[in-house]
Amino acid sequence: MKNYLSISRLGIDDERFAAFEFTGSFDSVGFKHNFTLLQAVLEEHDSEYLVFDFGKLTFINSRAVGFLIEAMNFLQESNRKLVLVGADGLVKDVLQTTGVFELIAFYPSLDAFKVSITT
């Protein structure tokens, strides 16, 4: 099956957080193809917040949700936080339905998140 997921770092000059943009379909295939990158994302950035921008994500399934929970737990061990921004439509529905938003902070956009950590 073809991998339709790409992950890229957003070039933002703020040492408080590192942001990564997810594009495409975050399913089992996408997870498997990007596994090394996802691990590096979690381990190599030591800023207080790790932000995943899901604004360009079109699909997400339970495998990806499982990764988000693992990522959240991993970051919590070093007092860091995972933040989700930008998800809408089907992706937001899935995250809402599975209760992810009860555990992981969500903002409608990256700008909204930046405002929240500034105030």
Binding site: S28, F59, N61, S62, R63, V65, G66, I69, E70, N73, L90, V94, T97, T98, G99, E102, L103
Partner: protein, 383 residues
């Protein structure tokens, strides 16, 4: 001549004999031309050269090649064989190296095949156990008609469902574990067992899910989780309520109005947090006789067609609305499943698919005789 060709050594002996005959004839003719001493010296010198060639040939070709051939014969006859030690860089060395590499690969493949067979055996046992946990037949329940159908993606699915009856009520659940395979099947089995235990000591779906979650989170350390909806029906009062753990929405079809209502199952998936008591809640549903509740796994709404479009909740609602007025539970389940299959076309299934149709009221005799009524197995061919 066929006997002579069996080995290099015999070939050499045969050639040597022919050479000896030719030499004999030569010596005879030479003896007519040269002195006897000269002939003897010539024969002796030639014989020495030939002997040296033979010895060299034996030590450097015949004997090392025999070693390789012996091990090859052992391999071909299924006997034990060993690596051929050779540091030669010539053709004999190449043959020996090739033999060693081939036998190494054969050994590895043989080991892999045995491991593969062992894993297949274990998967087969796990798959059989899982099949025995999930109900093969839809149960007969007083006051309700429940028709569940499931189609796992592979031998060990992540979807599960079951019906548990107590003296006062019946509990129905549908669940979906993260991933597939042995680990997901184990989680599914654990949750199924825990629900079966806790429905006997709790009178509400909410309490059951709080207890199940606490046990799951205690013993399952990996970030695996299970979305679930647990519904209960009280025989005496006819009251229906449910509690959700991050599962798909619930569809309610009311025959009086001919409309579908979508309700969020709510909550948070089992296994995400140690204590979910503040994150899930119990919701009551008022149904009249003939009304439907549809529970489904995400394999239904996430099913794709050849263009990559998702079946989606809207299509599911439309299918329910189209068929619910004219069918009972078994018929509705069949028609919705057929709608999904037609939508998918030749696209391969990518996730487990489970569809449970619950109707208030008991099945008619005609419905009970419907071939789609009893079995929980998804129909393979809707043609």
């Amino acid at each position: 001549m066929r006997v002579v060709r069996k080995s290099l050594a015999r070939k050499v002996v045969f050639l040597f004999l022919i050479f000896a005959v030719v030499l004999g004839v030569m010596v005879y003719h030479l003896s007519l031309l040269l002195s006897v001493d000269a002939v003897y010296w010539l024969v002796g010198y030639f014989g020495l050269v030939m002997f040296s060639v033979l010895v060299f040939y034996y030590l450097n070709v015949i004997r090392p090649l025999r070693k390789v051939v012996e091990q090859m014969q052992a391999l071909l006859l299924g006997q034990s064989y060993k690596e051929v030690m050779s540091y030669r860089m010539d053709e004999i060395g190449v043959v020996a190296y090739f033999f060693n590499q081939v036998t190494k690969s054969i050994g590895k493949i043989s080991g892999d095949l045995k491991e593969h067979d062992r894993m297949l055996d274990e998967l087969s046992v796990a798959s059989q156990l899982q099949k025995e946990i999930l109900p093969a037949q839809n149960p007969e329940v007083e006051g309700l008609t429940i028709v569940a159908k499931s189609k796992p993606l592979n031998e060990l699915g992540g979807d599960s469902f079951n019906v548990f009856r107590t003296k006062e009520r019946v509990f129905v659940y549908i669940g979906d574990v993260t991933g597939h395979g042995a680990a997901a099947a184990l989680i599914m089995a654990m949750v199924n067992t825990l629900i079966g235990v806790f429905v006997d000591i709790n009178d509400s779906p909410y309490k059951v899910l709080v207890d199940v979650n606490r046990y799951i989170k205690t013993y399952v350390k990996r970030a695996m989780f299970m979305t679930l909806v647990l519904l209960s029906y009280d025989y005496a009062t006819g009251k229906i309520s449910y509690a959700g753990a991050g599962h798909e929405n619930i569809i309610i079809y009311r025959k009086k109005y001919g409309e579908c209502e979508v309700m969020m199952s709510g909550g948070i998936a089992l296994g995400m947090v140690p204590d979910n008591s503040n994150l899930i809640k119990e919701i009551n549903v008022d149904l009249e006789d003939g009304d439907f509740i549809i529970l489904y796994s995400d394999g239904i709404v996430d099913a794709k067609n050849t263009a990559g479009d998702l079946y989606g909740l809207d299509r599911l609602k439309m299918a329910v609305k189209e068929y619910a007025q004219n069918y009972q539970a078994a018929g509705l389940n069949h028609q919705v499943a057929r709608d999904v299959a037609v939508f998918m076309g030749n696209t391969a299934q990518e996730d487990d698919m489970t569809l449970i149709v619950i109707q208030k009221g008991e099945p008619t005799p005609e419905e009970k005789s419907d071939i789609n009524f009893s079995s929980t197995k998804w129909v393979d061919n809707f043609a």
